[in-house]
Amino acid sequence: MSQTLTADKKELFLESFRVSEGISGVSKAAELALENLDFPTTRDEYWKYTRLTKILNGRFSVEPFEGSEEVVSINERALHIECINGYFQSPVGEIQEGIEITSVEEVEEALVDYQNEFFSALNTAYFTSGIKIKIKAGVEIDKSIQVNFLSVNNNIQVQPRIEIELEPNASANFIFNWHHNGQEGNFYNVVSELKLHENAQLSLHQLQAGGDENFLINTTQVNQQRDSKFAIHTISLEGKVLRNNLNIAVEGENCESILNGVYLAYGSQHFDNHTYVDHIAPNCYSSENYKGVMDDKSTAVFNGKVMVQPNAQKINAFQSNQNILLSDDATINSKPELEIYADDVQCSHGSTTGQLDEEAVFYLRSRGVSEVSAKKMMIRAFVFDVLEEIKLESFKEHVEGLVEEKFKL
C-alpha cells in the first residue's frame, strides 16, 4: 500500500517539473526512464540513511532569471560564472585564451546513469539551463574558474547542468560555490559531468553553504583517461538535506584520484556523502579522506565504495573516514566498502568515530586556553590534514575561516 502511495506522490512531485514544450533526444530517454524509476526511499540501499519525504512532498516552481547578484568572491582573480535560480548568466571577467564556454540547449551524451538514478534522470530530462566549459589541449589555466550557485526566489527548482571537458594536457582549477542570500525551500538538483582526457589535471573545490532551509542533491560524474589527475575537495556547511553523489570512472592507466571532504553539521542538518571509485584500468592510485564533526541533532552519512574490476591489477586504493560527535543526539552512519576482483592490489579502508579527547581539552585548559577555544582548536586540528591537501590557497584560507566559525560551542 505504501508503495502505491509513494507512486502517487511521485506523480504529483513530477508534475511541477514537466515542461510544456516537447523535449527530445537524451532528455526524452531520461523522461521515459523517470516513468519507470521509483522515487528513492530508505528501502533502497543507495538511500538507506537519507529520507527524502520533504523533497517528495515539496512543490518547486521554475523561475527564470537574468541579471546579476552580489556574491562573495573566494578568489578575486577568478573567472566568475553565476548560476541564479538554475540559469547560467554570462561570465564576468576576462576569458583566458583556451577556454571555450558554450550553453547547452540539448544533452548530446550523458555520462551520469540516468537509467537507474532518479535525480540524474530528473536533471537530464528537465534541467533548467546547461553550460559547457572546455579547456583546449595543452592549455594551463592559471586563474581559477568559479561557478556560483544561488537563487533569489523561494520554493523553486534549481537544476543546472555543467559539462566540463579538459582536452589532453590541459589543466584547470574550478570552484563551485553554493551561496545563500535568504531564500528558503529551494530544491537544488545539480549534475556535473567532468571529462579528463590524457594527462589532464583538474581540481574541483566545492563549498556548500547554500542555506539551511534548502535541499541539495549534487551529482558529479568524472571520467578519467590515461595519466590524468583529478582532485576534489568538498566542504559541506549548510543544507537541510544535502547529498553528494560522486562517481569516478578511472578508465585509463596511471591515473590519480584524490577525494577529500569535510562536513560540519549542527541543528537538524542532514549531510550525506556517497562516493564511488571504479577502477577499470590497472596501475592507478586513489586516495579518499573524509572527516566530519556533528553537533546537536544533526546526521551525517558517509558511504564510500572502491571497486577494482577484474584485470585492474596494481591498484593502490585507500579510504579513510573519521568522525567526531559533539552531542548525544547526533548520528553518524559510516559505510566504507571495498569490492575487489583483482589480486595484485593494495586496498584498505578505515573508519573511526569518537568524541573530542577530554584529556587534550584539559591539557589546553590547564595552559590557560578557554574551553571554547580549546574545542575550536581541536576541531580545526581534526580537519587540518584534509584542508592541508587543498592547493588553491585562496580557497583554503576562505574555508579555514568558515570552519572556525561553524560551531558556537
Binding site: 584485470n311 548520528t331 571495498l338 589480486d343 568524541q355
Partner: protein
C-alpha cells in the same frame, strides 16, 4: 497406457536420482511428508513429533508470516533459487546403511580424514561404519552425560526439551530471533524438525566443551536445525558445533537458527567449524547454508563470543550477532572464511550496543581462491543509550589468484558521542617475497601458502578450543589445495 508408462518412468527417474545423488544409500523413504509447504504439512510435522498445542501455534504463526515474505536479494551471492514447494519438509530419521569396514568407504573421504588426523575409530563413526558398543567415544559420551546431570546442566535434543522442559523452551524460544526476523528464520520457525537445547544453571561452570558431536541421539540433524542455549546467572559454557570432517548431506538447503541467552555474569563461547559439501570443482552441487545466529547479552557483565571457521558450502549466508543489552556486556566475533573454486560466502556479524560500557570486537579474515567470492558484511550499531560503548573491527582479505573476489561491506551507525568505534580493512595478496623466503628454505609453494595463511588466521584460530584448532589448521590447508597454479 502411454501415460502410465511415462508416470512410471518419471517415478523411476526420481528414484534413481534421489538415491544416487551424494553416494549414500538410504532405505526406501516410507515416512516422508508430501512435497510442499502449507498448514497441513506443519500440522503433520507437529503431530509426528507429538508436540504440544502452543508449539503448533508458534509454527503456524510463523508460516502465516512466511507467506508474506520474499526471498532476500541483497547478499552478494548468486545461485539458482530453490523451489520450496518441491521440498519435503519432514522425513523420519533415515537409518543409514551400515558399512562393515572402512574398506567400503569412499577412499577420497578417508584420505581427507587421514590428513585431518582423525583417529580410526572416529573415522568409522563419521562415515557410518558399524561400531562396537565399547567404542571410546560412546563410553566417553555416557560419562559426559552423567557429569553434566550431576551439575544440573540440561543438554538434549530440542524435541526432548519440548517434552521435558516445556517451560524453559517456551520462555526463551523466539526471544532472540523473533519469528518474523528474516525469510529463512521464519521458514525455520515454521518447519524446524530438531536441534539442540542447552541450559546451564546459576553459577555453574560447565566442566567440558559441549559438542553436538557427542550427542549420540542426533546422528542426522536434518536441514532445519534449531539450537537454543541459555546460560543462567554466573554460568559458563563453551559450545562446539560441527566438526572438521567433511559432511555430506542429501539436503541442499540448510536454514538453521541458533539462539543464545546470557544472563548476568554469564559467558557463552560458541565455536563452529563448518565444512559442508562445497560442490565440485566446476561449481556443481553443494549446500546452501543460510543460518541465523544471534546471542542476547541480557544481563550485566555477560559475554558472548562467536568463533567460526567456514570452509564449506557452495553458498554461505551467515551473520552471528550479539545484542549487547546488559551494561558492561561484551560481544566478540572471530571468523575465518575460506572460499575456493566456485564457492560464495557472504558472512559477518552484527553488534548492537544498547547497554552502557558495552564492548565488542570483530576480527574477520577472508581468504578467496579459485573463482570464488568472499564478502564481509557487518553492522556495528551504537544506540543512543550505549554510553561509553567501544568497538574494534578488523576485516582483512587475502586473495589467492586473479579470478576471485574479496569484498567488504561494513555498516557503522553511531548515535552516542561517548562511543569509540574503529574499523579497518585491508585487501591484498600474499607477498612474493614471503613465498620466496619460504622457497629458499626448501618449503614448496603450496606448503608456504598454507604456512602463511595459517599465520594470517592465527588471531582467530587461537580462539578455538585446543584440538579443534589443530584440526582447523589442517582443514585450511586442505581447503586451499590445488589453488596454487
Amino acid at each position: 497406457m502411454a501415460d502410465k508408462l511415462a508416470q512410471q518412468d518419471a517415478a523411476l527417474d526420481e528414484q534413481i536420482n534421489s538415491d544416487y545423488k551424494y553416494g549414500f544409500t538410504t532405505d526406501i523413504e516410507s515416512d516422508l511428508a508430501p512435497k510442499g509447504l502449507n498448514a497441513d504439512i506443519i500440522k503433520y510435522i507437529s503431530a509426528k513429533k507429538n508436540e504440544p498445542q502452543w508449539l503448533l501455534e508458534f509454527r503456524l504463526a510463523a508460516l502465516e508470516k512466511f507467506e508474506s515474505l520474499q526471498e532476500p536479494e541483497w547478499a552478494h551471492v548468486n545461485y539458482p533459487k530453490i523451489d520450496l514447494q518441491e521440498l519435503h519438509f519432514y522425513a523420519a530419521p533415515k537409518p543409514k546403511k551400515k558399512l562393515n569396514s572402512l574398506d567400503e568407504v569412499d577412499p577420497e573421504l578417508l584420505d581427507t580424514f587421514n590428513k585431518l588426523g582423525i583417529s580410526l575409530e572416529e573415522q568409522k563413526r563419521l562415515s557410518g561404519v558399524a561400531v562396537d558398543v565399547v567404542m571410546d567415544s560412546v563410553s566417553v559420551a555416557t560419562t559426559f552425560k552423567e557429569t553434566l546431570a550431576e551439575k544440573g546442566i540440561i543438554f538434549c535434543s530440542f524435541s526432548e526439551a519440548v517434552k521435558n522442559h516445556p517451560d524453559l523452551v517456551r520462555k526463551y524460544m523466539g526471544t532472540v530471533v523473533p519469528v518474523n526476523d528474516n525469510y529463512y528464520a521464519t521458514l525455520n520457525s515454521a518447519v524446524f524438525t530438531d536441534g539442540s537445547f542447552c541450559y546451564i544453571p546459576k553459577g555453574v561452570r560447565c566442566p567440558m566443551e559441549l559438542s553436538t558431536y557427542f550427542r549420540i541421539n542426533e546422528a542426522n540433524t536434518g536441514q532445519f536445525e534449531r539450537t537454543l542455549i541459555i546460560a543462567d546467572e554466573g554460568s559458563y559454557v563453551s559450545y562446539l558445533e560441527g566438526c572438521t570432517a567433511p559432511m555430506r548431506d542429501e539436503n541442499q538447503l540448510h536454514a538453521a537458527i541458533v539462539e543464545i541467552v546470557a544472563h548476568k555474569d554469564a559467558e557463552v563461547k560458541y565455536s563452529t567449524v563448518q565444512n559442508w559439501y562445497p560442490g565440485d570443482k566446476n561449481g556443481v552441487g553443494g549446500i546452501y547454508n543460510f543460518v541465523t545466529k544471534r546471542g542476547l547479552c541480557e544481563g550485566s557483565n555477560s559475554k558472548i563470543s562467536w568463533t567460526q571457521v567456514e570452509t564449506g558450502s557452495a553458498v554461505t549466508w551467515k551473520y552471528p550477532s550479539c545484542v549487547l543489552k546488559g551494561d558492561h556486556s561484551v560481544g566478540e566475533f572471530y571468523s575465518v572464511a575460506v572460499t575456493n573454486n566456485f564457492q560464495q560466502a557472504d558472512t559477518g556479524t552484527k553488534m548492537v550496543h544498547i547497554g552502557k560500557n558495552t564492548k565488542s570486537t570483530i576480527i574477520s579474515k577472508g581468504i578467496s581462491a579459485g573463482k570464488s567470492n568472499n564478502s564481509y558484511r557487518g553492522l556495528v550499531k551504537i544506540n543512543k543509550s550505549a554510553h561509553n560503548a567501544r568497538n574494534f573491527s578488523q576485516c582483512d582479505s587475502l586473495l589467492l589468484g586473479d579470478t576471485c573476489g574479496a569484498h567488504t561491506f561494513p555498516y557503522i551507525e553511531t548515535q552516542n558521542k561517548s562511543a569509540k568505534v574503529e574499523h579497518e580493512a585491508t585487501t591484498s595478496k600474499i607477498g612474493e617475497d614471503q613465498i620466496f623466503y619460504c622457497n629458499q628454505r626448501g618449503i614448496d609453494t603450496e606448503k608456504a601458502i598454507g604456512l602463511i595463511v595459517n599465520g594470517y588466521c592465527k588471531d582467530v584460530l587461537n580462539q578455538l578450543p585446543m584440538e579443534f584448532a589443530v584440526e582447523a589448521q589442517k582443514l585450511l590447508d586442505i581447503s586451499l589445495e590445488g589453488s596454487v597454479g
